[in-house]
């Protein structure tokens, strides 16, 4: 019974990953022979492995700039998405008004808008003749920066795309805290902010970690948003990977970059797993 899923994972994930790792380490035979046939600037060895491709990619100042751009945008997006999701989630949890229900509905709308469309919308919104600049101009702020085709626009796009999931996640986490637990804290003398800190926050560590890690992994691997809204360089790794792969015809370098992004994502994934293990340890105590 275990076999079919294992086989699927092995064929569709394990094998390609293994082949890609071998290629980045200089082994161009077997499954890699076709791609290696036409590729340029390859580092090939016939015995053992070489880290030459890694050294080349990491030594490339443009790639390094892309890497820092990726890390920067990822961190900013994580922080803003977590804060926004918490703010909106808390608002929805603590207030039950018509407005809060409208906010709740609005906040998930981006889920239903294709990323391509959203990216173009964001681009024109912040472009040099876009809505924001025009508005700023009319208000007398003539030096307002153009955000279109900057990393800021990329971050705004990534935030826009990731907030709905964050809000859904945080609302469901916050809604699972019974009212009585909040009221009991108030009754003991806690102000609302203190109640949030002492009851809602510690009871929602896992949803927060999920929002942070999933957002981070999404941004690391994203292509559409940075490709459409970002600058030519430096841009996120997803975009430069595509350039290296097709425009420069350097698939080995592209795969090396993919490995680097993979390692970053694994780092984030480890945080997620660690948080879950910690939670399940405590769950055996608390429920």
């Amino acid at each position: 019974m275990v076999l079919p899923p294992v086989a699927v994972v092995a064929v569709f994930i394990g094998f390609p990953v293994g082949a890609a790792i071998a290629y980045t380490l200089g082994r161009a035979g077997g499954p890699n022979s076709t791609v290696a046939l036409l590729a340029q600037r390859q580092h090939i060895v016939h015995h053992g492995v070489t880290t030459a491709a890694y050294r080349e990619v990491l030594g490339n100042p443009h790639v390094r700039a892309d890497l820092w751009a990726t890390v920067w945008v990822t961190l900013v997006t994580i922080v803003v998405v977590v804060l926004l999701s918490w703010a909106i989630g808390l608002y929805l949890r603590l207030s039950d008004t018509r407005i809060s229900r409208i906010v709740s509905a609005l906040s998930v709308i981006p889920l239903f808008i294709p990323v391509v469309i959203a990216s173009y919308a964001i681009l024109t919104f912040y472009a040099s003749q876009g809505f924001i600049k025009t508005l700023a101009y009319h208000l007398g702020w003539h030096s307002f920066p153009t955000l279109g085709y900057t990393l800021t626009a990329v971050a705004i796009g990534e935030i826009w795309v990731n907030v709905p999931f964050g809000v859904l996640m945080m609302s469901s986490g916050l809604n699972s805290v019974p009212n009585a637990l909040i009221e009991a804290a108030r009754d003991s003398g806690a102000s609302l902010p203190r109640t949030v800190r002492s009851v809602l926050l510690p009871m929602n560590v896992i949803p927060t970690v999920i929002v942070a890690t999933f957002t981070g992994i999404y941004v690391l691997g994203s292509f559409t948003v940075p490709y459409l809204t970002g600058p030519s360089a430096p841009n996120l790794m997803g975009v430069s990977m595509a350039n290296f792969f097709s425009a420069f015809n350097q698939p080995q370098q592209a795969e090396v970059m993919a490995m680097i992004v993979f390692v970053l994502a694994v780092g984030i994934g480890t945080i997620y797993v660690w948080a879950n293990v910690r939670a399940s340890k405590r769950a055996s105590i608390t429920s």
């Binding site: 009585a180 637990l181 009221e183 804290a185 009754d187 003991s188 806690a190 009871m203 608390t286």
Partner: protein, 360 residues
């Protein structure tokens, strides 16, 4: 019922509350003396929790005021009120140990560490849970969780303790034990307490006074014995304890039931002849097998209740329940009389004088 001269304790002064377009509590007046335990007793949905939440500050009254020791607290948020609530599901914070749960309010008040520890240990000692000080709530039993919730409320030394059906999640045996614990602790520290329940047994055995509520109003506010012996309304009479009700006519030789049977009554709340509804507790139905007066009755069913026996009787077509000694020999035919009855007209107790009067 109000007594402006003694402001100590809790005063609910003409409080009303509408929720969802309905009046849930209407013009409620209740005074609880300092150190007293008052039960709010009533059927589901009568507004008990709503009342309690207004005292605790989780709801704002639409009209009226709530006073504690003479000062109006109706506009204060819950964290500023000298009240502490024990929630129905205990509402212990699952991510905190018993110590952290109980000490939370003290830590907020920025007391010195040593004092916090001492007060938490004292209150846990009071509820008998010192050995669980470092346990998480999910690791202790329901009864223990209940006592932690009580400790968490008591440790803040509130002026008024509020309990919302705190025992409803416990099994029958534990419920009796924990309610005795609560009563004992409450009397030892002399804290003014409001206890919400829909269990009349609980109310009768715990309270100094009971406020019986129905449809957002207090039907009667009295000590348990008065409530049981002199229920002010038909509703109270039927809600608290078992009661046989008959409409009929009071005459010189007893009470004539609608079915025609003439039942002698030894003691009545009023002796003015006329049409009434009579309420008779099953233990006030006296049966005898040697017919010395009394209405004829046939035994429909016998139910063993342990320390007593319940008889379901047919008295001239009317059903009647009687509690009798468990060893009463089984017979088919009996004679019944009422040793005590209370009379109602339009649902309101008709009471004539303090001393019971005999009507034969």
């Amino acid at each position: 019922m109000t007594d402006a001269q003694t402001p100590a304790g809790l005063l609910i002064d003409r409080v009303s509350k509408d929720l969802g377009g309905r009046t849930i509590v209407s013009d409620m007046q209740l005074e609880v003396h300092a150190g007293e335990l008052t039960c709010l007793l009533g059927p589901s949905g009568c507004g008990k929790t709503t009342t309690l939440r207004m005292i605790g500050g989780f709801l704002q009254p639409d009209a009226g005021a709530i006073l504690i020791d003479g000062s109006d607290i109706s506009r204060l948020p819950p964290e500023k009120r000298p009240t502490a609530m024990v929630f129905q599901n205990y509402a212990l914070w699952p991510h905190m140990t018993v110590f952290k749960n109980v000490s939370f309010g003290l830590r907020l008040r920025k007391l010195p560490k040593a004092e916090i520890r001492e007060r938490v240990e004292n209150v846990l000692e009071l509820v008998g849970l010192t050995h669980h000080i470092h346990s998480y709530p999910a690791r202790i039993s329901g009864g223990e969780q209940q006592r932690v919730a009580l400790a968490r409320a008591l440790v803040l030394e509130p002026k008024v303790l509020l309990l919302d059906e705190p025992l409803s999640n416990l099994d029958a045996k534990l419920r009796v034990r924990v309610r005795e614990d609560i009563r004992e602790i409450q009397q030892r520290i002399g804290i003014t307490t409001i206890f919400v329940t829909h269990d009349q047994d609980e109310a009768l055995s715990l309270s100094d006074r009971i406020a019986v509520m129905s449809g957002g109003r207090v039907e009667q506010y009295a000590d348990p014995r008065t409530l049981y012996r002199h229920p002010a309304t038909h509703f109270v009479a039927s809600f608290v304890g078992a009661m046989n009700f008959y409409t009929g006519t009071l005459g010189g030789d007893g009470f004539r039931l609608a079915g025609g049977a003439q039942v002698p009554v030894d003691s009545l709340s009023s002796r003015t002849p006329g049409e009434y509804e009579i309420g008779v507790r099953p233990e006030d139905v006296t049966v005898s097998s040697n017919g010395d007066g009394g209405a004829e009755a046939s035994v429909v069913r016998e139910i063993q209740r342990g320390h007593y026996k319940e008889l379901v009787l047919d008295v001239g077509g009317d059903e009647m329940r009687a509690f009798v000694a468990p060893d009463l020999p089984a017979v088919d035919r009996l004679r019944v009389r009422f040793s005590r009855g209370v009379l109602y007209r339009d649902g309101v107790l008709q009471e004539q004088s303090e001393s019971p009067v005999a009507v034969r």
